[in-house]
Symmetry: C2
Amino acid sequence: MASEPNSVRVVLVSPRNPLNIGAATRAMANFGFSDLAVVAPYEPHWREAKSAVGAEDLLQKARRTQCLAEAVADCTLVIGTGTLTHRKPEQPVVSLPDLALLIESKGAHGARVALVFGPEKHGLTREDLSWCHLLVEIPTDARQPSMNLGQAVAVCLYELASRAFSRPPAESASPQAIPAPSTSLDLLAAVIEQTMTAAGYSPRAMLPANRHDLRLLLRRLAPSALDTRRMLGLFRRILWRLEPGPKRK
Amino acid sequence: MASEPNSVRVVLVSPRNPLNIGAATRAMANFGFSDLAVVAPYEPHWREAKSAVGAEDLLQKARRTQCLAEAVADCTLVIGTGTLTHRKPEQPVVSLPDLALLIESKGAHGARVALVFGPEKHGLTREDLSWCHLLVEIPTDARQPSMNLGQAVAVCLYELASRAFSRPPAESASPQAIPAPSTSLDLLAAVIEQTMTAAGYSPRAMLPANRHDLRLLLRRLAPSALDTRRMLGLFRRILWRLEPGPKRK
């Protein structure tokens, strides 16, 4: 079941205060989640956070990565969190009370879901968000929308755990129903980017902006694993045509 | 509307760590609640908690009381929180996802609701709970049910704020629909206790247990304000009959 707690990974991006990492971990244990990834934490001794009451083992076995792409590489549905007060989102936005249902409907077959939280001060950056298929908004008061990290994690996990419900028996998955993991989309994006450059489509100055837009586009399309492999084959072939010669024999 | 955030008071009983008081206050601001009562806090300087980010004013104007009875004196629906792993509750228990609806249905006319949280280590005592009409249970994992205080407050207030919905237009309140505040129930209990003693019904050794049971009984009955005044009149009259003489002319 897609919204089964254990199938959702909690990803904390560049958390500054180990007490918040510990508090987030405690909330995971409270609501039955166990897959934690910590991206580039600020403090080296974050695994010793005293606030992970009853969840010390979970903190010990958390994976640590250097970047968000690595933390969500095998995920098929990456969900960013945060307030949207000061920015116009580039992805679809879902309100937290509707999230469990949405995960359920999107993740019928072998979904691997990541729920991504940004650093305490400013939340997820625009760059971070470009790895996300969609954003979830916690319905907070407009006068004071900024939540504490540990409390935001607790509220999201409470929602997922308490709204989880049983799905009707799964039909056998058609090949098109198996979504592509994040890392396949990144690979495809890299080959498309090479192709664009080889075709003289993307001037050097525009490269970062085009890269960002392409990453978002692929998440919007959300191609199946099969279609992603097909597109990859296609662009590799185009690239081979565009750049013939010794390096691409 | 009964589940309108501002009509719910958050009561923290004997919190030990000011950081938790601050975190609870921050969550109140996040979800649009503003009525905080702190009962017998452990640290004298709790109003300076740095964790009340964006909610400093709310912390400043919080009321401080010596006992729980005083903090909920004017409330008509007192709801205790906590895990029930190790005890058999003496009140009805409602699961948090159903709480907003229940408040809505109970509190149609002028309800004043208090949501009561116990101290960090052990939660609300049996004595604390005897002031509660009902208990709410946060559906946590049985292997790790104990939540951080600030996170528990955040989860409860999120639930109340996000499930709040508009009621059909209120009918004009019949006198019987106006519930009695907690302090009226305490007054009635005191007069009933005097009456029991005067009637030789309650031996001295049994007094604390009978007092506890009586407090619970009145919350179960949940009499209207009008009926509470009637019962008070009745027991005062009985008492006057039982104890005639100079002190009750």
